[in-house]
């Protein structure tokens, strides 16, 4: 393998993953996403090693490379979440860093970041983040700092970090009650409905919505 091809290969796997999300699979689509003068050469190399499957003009991930692509995507999108939600950076300043991070994060750090963020299901652009072993509750290495509202204890206070609503309408309705990233809330009840207090307003929410609001809880 050519020594420079490592990063490019990761990029190609990543591109094939996002192409699959957008239901694209031609060589031209790939060329539009990966900048390289030696693209054909690298793809041929990967095909020979069983990392991609070629069929005429179509290029897709193989069974064996799909897992690796998922890991790259997972690292990239977790990094995006980290930069945008926790540090509040703007997209232009973190997009490049996220691309760097996807190559250097090892599995253990990735899991810590994922737990820290409360196992977020989607990236800031709304694309799904492939779950890792930490997300299935198989092990809980550290207590996450950012958890869904659903996991909060009664009486706990916290600050909303991000919201992943299923519809835009839901987001704006939440916003109108002051349920927006940055707001501080206290959970006062979990059943039959979740009841939160923001400033002096009590709002009742159904469980579905409580799953989509991610909160950084106050310690102690």
């Amino acid at each position: 393998m050519h020594p420079d091809h490592g990063h490019k290969r990761d990029e190609i796997l990543e591109a094939l993953w996002t192409m699959a999300e957008d239901q694209l699979q031609t060589r031209a689509d790939l060329a539009a996403r990966v900048e390289s003068t030696r693209l054909d050469e690298i793809v041929a190399e990967m095909a020979a090693e069983g990392e991609v499957a070629e069929d005429g003009d179509k290029i897709v991930l193989t069974e064996s490379s799909r897992e690796r692509a998922a890991q790259i995507i997972r690292r990239h999108r977790l990094a995006e979440r980290l930069f945008s939600d926790l540090f509040g950076l703007e997209e232009q300043s973190w997009e490049a860093s996220a691309c760097t991070f996807e190559h250097i994060l090892d599995e253990k750090v990735t899991q810590s970041v994922c737990s820290f963020l409360g196992h977020p299901p989607v990236c800031p652009h709304g694309k799904p983040i492939p779950p890792g072993p930490c997300c299935n509750g198989e092990r809980k290495p550290i207590e996450p700092l950012v958890i869904p509202l659903k996991e909060m204890k009664i009486g706990q206070r916290g600050r909303i970090v991000f919201i992943t609503p299923r519809t835009k309408r839901r987001l704006s309705r939440l916003a109108s009650y002051g349920v927006i990233p940055g707001s501080e809330l206290t959970l006062s009840q979990r059943f039959p409905s979740y009841i939160i207090r923001i400033d002096q307003t009590d709002v009742a929410l159904e469980t579905e919505i409580a799953k989509e609001i991610f909160v950084r809880v106050e310690r102690g």
Binding site: E90, E91, Q92, S93, R169, R170, S172, R173, L174, A175, S176, Y177, G178, I180, G182, S188, Q189, F191, P192, S193, I195, D199, Q200, T201, D202, V203, A204, L205, E206, E208, I209
Partner: protein
């Protein structure tokens, strides 16, 4: 309605400036007291309650003491002016259609952020604003201060603490309305946004609305104002809008919508930090504690039962028992009817005498039913409902029933129309508009028509049940609730569409104000009597004609297989079902009299009650269903309800006889 608003708005946008009359528009979050202040400014009564979303339509009135020709407009509660919901669209359109109006922002003093968020939207429209910091007593109790003087000093907008239900502070607000001036929006946008506004306003034709407001709205890319702008807007304008959206994105690294809302939010946060302070809350007040218990999965249930029993006692025992007895026996029986009879007997025509005071007489039957049986029951229900509404218990009830309602394709928010249906199904069908999706509105309308007995009917029903063993009440409640749940479940599966989210503000518990409950009850009773009393008279005349034409015995005979065979009821009960077509409560009142005179045994009472509860709604309700959902839907509902009610009645009859229940 929506079309009207659209046309009005379009007219306002394209009309030359300065042609509108002066007016005051009340704007505010839900449940902050806009309607109380509206009543104060106009002297006109509107229904006021402690439940978000009571005002579903705009109300207009002439202002007192604000100068000649000044109109006051009350709007539904909103969170912002970006039209996310029907209420917000209505409110925004009112503002657009009245470009010269002064805005009276009614605020909840406890919630500075929400108040300021709404204020920003209003200021962007370039309107003169006065703020009523309402419910300042509650804010003080909770240790929240809103520094009105500091706020006015910074923004130049006058704000006054008020307690609207007690009339405190409102005179200052009124005086301030006369001198309110426009002030520019205080929000600082990034350079790129300001530049875009400047560049775009050159190509936007002058309208009645500040072009700054229109452009900011268009730049968010979520605007629906485009359809309202005059045709003279050149096509290049829209290309420019898209171009500047992209410019802003490039300069700020976020979408233009995020940049604009971010700038507004920043101002709100900054201002809130300067003028609003919260002291550490002392001991939780009793109202807070009780409010919490009433939603508790465990303690909430006994409280729910206690509330229901209290209403049952007040309406069923006091209203339908004591009050009805007094009115019917003493007032009508001993005084009014004998007087009326002796008076009418002076008239020589026997036909007229019979029509007035005969067995199917307008006075002896229709007016006696309406005023002696139905009125005390409806009155006591509306008193109880008013107290519940004002106390703030209803949103808590919504929380308690949310999970149950979800199985029926609804959510807890549907509890308001359902409980109001216990007062009057017609009124309740109109309020189904507060529900978000068409599917929810159809299901609630069907359930109201099918199985929610209105208060008059309910009072009569409870009056009849109270004479029987408690098991009779259990059977009636069980069958009706079971049917409601089963039909809800089934229709949620059959009807297409989605259920909406359950997101509901829980208003604080408050002691209901006696004056407010009284005026609310009076207004509702007046509405009810205007709606019901004429139908009682028509129903009686119908019966009178049928009796004269000897149709009654014929119908009684023809329907005998159903009434006697299936339901096991005496022939006389047929009349109750005939007039039940006009009003269910009138039908129930007929059964009431029949039962009290010993004409029905326990099984017959339970059977007839279940049948009439599930039976067709009254004519008025039917018309409202047509109005809201169309003739086809109304007829389909009727075709389902009538056979189904008879079938359920028959089933209950046979089962109870089968098991040998004696009551």
């Amino acid at each position: 309605m929506a079309l009207m608003a659209f046309l009005m708005t379009k007219a306002a946008l394209t009309a030359p400036a300065g042609t509108q009359e002066t007016s005051v528009v009340l704007v505010g979050n839900a449940n902050v007291g806009k309607s109380v202040i509206f009543s104060y400014l106009t002297g006109k009564y509107v229904t006021v309650s402690n439940y978000p979303g009571t005002t579903v339509e705009i109300t207009r009135g002439k202002a007192r003491d604000l100068g000649p020709g000044v109109e006051v407009i009350d709007t539904p509660g909103v969170q912002s002016l970006s039209p996310e919901s029907e209420d917000e669209r209505v409110t925004r359109d009112v503002l657009l259609a009245n470009p010269c109006a002064t805005v009276l922002l009614v605020a909840d003093s406890k919630n500075a952020r929400r108040t300021l968020t709404l204020l920003v939207s209003v200021l962007e429209l370039g309107r003169p604003v006065v703020i009523a910091l309402n419910m300042s007593d509650e804010a003080r109790l909770r240790g929240v201060t809103f520094d009105a003087d500091a706020f006015s000093g910074i923004t130049g907008i006058e704000a006054f603490p008020t307690v609207a239900v007690e009339g405190r502070g409102l005179d200052k607000v009124k005086r301030s309305l006369l001198r309110a001036r426009r002030c520019p929006s205080p929000v600082l946008y990034p350079q790129a946004v300001e530049y875009a506004i400047e560049a775009l306003s050159a190509s936007l034709p002058q309208t009645n609305i500040s072009s700054r407001a229109v452009i900011l709205d268009l730049l968010t890319g979520e605007s629906d104002l485009a359809a309202l702008l005059p045709e003279s807007v050149p096509a290049e304008f829209w290309t420019m809008v898209a171009h500047y959206q992209e410019e802003i994105r490039r300069a700020c690294g976020r979408s233009s919508a995020a940049v604009i809302s971010g700038a507004r939010r920043a101002w709100v946060e900054q201002m809130a930090a300067r003028i609003s302070h919260t002291n550490e809350r002392g001991a939780e007040s009793w109202a807070d504690r009780f409010g919490r218990w009433s939603m508790h999965p465990l303690w909430g249930l006994p409280i729910l039962v206690a509330v229901l029993l209290a209403v049952f006692w007040f309406v069923g025992v006091f209203g339908a028992g004591t009050a009805v007895n007094f009115l019917e026996k003493t007032i009508f029986g001993a005084y009014l009817n004998p007087w009326a009879t002796s008076l009418v007997n002076l008239v020589p025509w026997s036909l007229f005498r019979d029509l007035m005071v005969g067995p199917y007489g307008v006075i002896t039957m229709a007016l006696t039913y309406a005023f002696a049986i139905v009125l005390p029951v409806v009155g006591t229900f509306f008193l109880a409902f008013g107290a519940l509404e004002d106390s703030g218990y209803l949103p808590r009830l919504a929380v308690m029933v949310d999970r149950l309602f979800r199985a029926m394709g609804l959510n807890g928010r549907a509890v308001l129309p359902m409980v109001l249906g216990l007062g009057c199904d017609t009124m309740a069908t109109l309020t189904t508009r507060v529900l978000d999706t068409k599917k929810e509105r159809v299901i609630v309308t069907l359930l109201l028509a099918l199985g929610v007995p209105c208060s008059a009917q309910m009072g009569v029903i409870l009056g009849m049940l109270s004479g029987l063993a408690f098991s009779a009440t259990i059977i009636w409640v069980g069958v009706v609730l079971g049917v409601l749940f089963a039909v809800g479940l089934l229709s949620s599966k059959l009807l297409k569409g989605e259920r909406s989210d359950f997101i509901l503000e829980i208003s604080p518990l408050r002691w209901p104000k006696v004056g407010n409950i009284a005026s609310k009850t009076l207004a509702r009773m007046e509405w009810y009597l205007k709606e019901a009393a004429p139908l009682f008279v028509y129903g009686t005349i119908l019966l009178f004609i049928m009796d004269r034409a000897s149709l009654l015995p014929w119908i009684e005979k023809a329907s005998a297989p159903v009434i006697k065979g299936l339901l096991g009821l005496p022939r006389e009960a047929t009349q109750a079902f005939i007039v039940g077509f006009l009003r269910r409560d009138y039908g129930a009142a007929g059964l009431f009299v029949l039962a009290r005179d010993g004409g029905l045994d326990a099984i017959q009472i339970v059977t007839s009650l279940i049948t009439i509860t599930l039976f067709m709604p009254c004519i008025a309700n039917f018309f409202v269903v047509i109005k809201e959902h169309g003739l086809k839907a109304a007829i389909l509902m009727g075709l389902f309800i009538i056979p189904f009610a008879l079938f359920m009645g028959g089933a209950v009859n046979y089962v109870l006889r089968g098991v040998g229940w004696i009551g």
